[in-house]
């Protein structure tokens, strides 16, 4: 009886494994039914995600603030002074203001480059069980969003539309390990390939071994054929360190992304590219140091005392 039970168990296990391998084979061969199931599940979940984003995002922002306590200590001190009701209202207001600010900056960037964009709200921050870096937004094919469109914020490149559903879309972030974008250095026009690393930095590999990079160089998207997946000129980040390994064929560098991927709430999908390449028009302006007033004191030597 025990052996019979074991055999049944083994048979069940083998059947389930074979079924899963069959599913993997079907999916890798591009059978549409399985993709349709994923689309269906997303169509059902996206309205729920929108509601949850509205309800829980202030709470999520609160946790984010706690994580970055050093940076937001001043704000937290201010909030402590208010009562519970006022604090809740402030968090909600803060959330709305941050979204408005992000929306303004993304429209500024899109306006400068003459991109035609569709703005969208982030409704989900991606998988916590796999190692991919994705977000979901509340706009999809009904809003003109298609696969392989560039996604930006006011600070620069966010990623690319990986999948689009009727009312939502899945965005592959630039930090995703599988992300690749053709890039060029603003000014010198050297070209290379920038890849995500799963962190806030990407790695840029130059294509020409005669060119050199330096810390502080601004990296822009080079643009793709027919502007998909990438429109040209979008700021990506800034070189923070250069690898000058003697044995390397071409130079590589760490690039810090301009976009803060942990606080995305409003993004824009570029649905129409400009007629002409904006070149370096979108390079962020270098911060201007605040002039410090100088005070000149003229000292007169006192008259020497007469004996």
């Amino acid at each position: 009886m025990r052996n019979g039970g074991d055999n049944r168990g083994r048979l069940l296990l083998i059947s389930l494994i074979v079924t899963s391998l069959f599913l993997i084979t079907l999916d890798l061969r591009g059978v549409q039914v399985l993709g349709g199931l994923r689309n269906g599940s997303q169509t059902v979940l996206s309205p729920l995600q929108s509601v949850a984003a509205n309800v829980f995002r202030p709470v999520g922002n609160f946790f984010s603030d706690v994580t970055h306590l050093g940076r937001t200590r001043g704000e937290i001190e201010k909030l402590k002074a208010n009562n519970e009701k006022l604090r809740q209202a402030l968090i909600n207001r803060k959330n709305a203001d941050a979204e408005l600010s992000q929306l303004k900056s993304v429209l500024d960037l899109a306006g400068t480059a003459k991109y035609k964009v569709v703005n969208a709200k982030v409704i989900s921050l991606g998988s916590t069980s796999s190692f991919t870096q994705t977000i979901s937004i509340d706009a999809g094919t009904n809003n003109g969003i298609r696969q392989n469109m560039t996604v930006i914020t006011g600070l620069g490149l966010v990623g690319v539309v990986k999948m689009s559903y009727p009312n939502s879309a899945l965005i592959q972030l630039a930090t995703d390990p599988a992300f690749r974008v053709g890039a060029r250095v603003a000014g010198s026009q050297q070209i290379g390939i920038l890849s995500g690393q799963g962190t806030g930095k990407g790695v840029l590999q130059l294509l020409d071994n005669r060119t050199t990079l330096k810390v502080g160089d601004v990296i822009l998207a080079r643009g793709s054929q027919h502007n998909r997946p990438f429109v040209p000129g979008v700021p990506i980040g800034e070189v923070t360190s250069v690898d000058n390994a003697a044995g390397a064929i071409t130079q590589t560098a760490d690039v810090k992304f301009y976009v803060n991927f942990s606080s995305l709430s409003i993004v824009a999908v570029v649905v129409g590219a400009p007629q002409s390449d904006p070149r370096d028009a979108l390079v962020p302006k270098a911060p201007v140091p605040t002039p410090v007033p100088t005070v000149t004191i003229y000292a007169k030597p006192s008259e020497s005392p007469t004996p």
Binding site: G9, I24, G60
Partner: protein, 173 residues
Amino acid sequence: MFARRFLISFPIFAVIFVIQETIVSQFRLFGSGFSLFLIFTLLWSALGTPELGALTGFGAGLLMDLSQSSSGPVGQWTLIMILAGFSISYLGYGDDNFRGNPISLVVIVAIAVPITRLVYLILGLMFGGELGSTLQIFISLIASGLWTVAVVPLLMPFVTRIHSGLFQDLSRG
């Protein structure tokens, strides 16, 4: 009888899956946070027989494959969760001291979660996925284990109660 009770548990998994996809995914926590659904599934599997563990893993893996944020082919999570569900239930099968001890359940699920994610990563690499920063992966795996240690004690009363309500009569019979 067994199949009927297994099917009854499906709505519970569906609810946890929806909570994972809609609420838990809103929070950006340390080390990329935790997967409530993965923890729930492994805890549920750890309480049952190996056959039930494999079946639970199959159903849960299918749901995880349907998640829009799942990067691999449909079936990748299914395959891994079948093996994870079977293995975790096989480890404590027949040992009531193990099953009855909450600490051993916490420890085994906390170990199983990072291992499951690591196997998913390795299988993903075999399917042509990208590795990215190894340090980030290491941090993420360690953090998922730590988050699991924090979450399992909160889930355990709920899971054990429902699981015993559904399956205890069956195991006695």
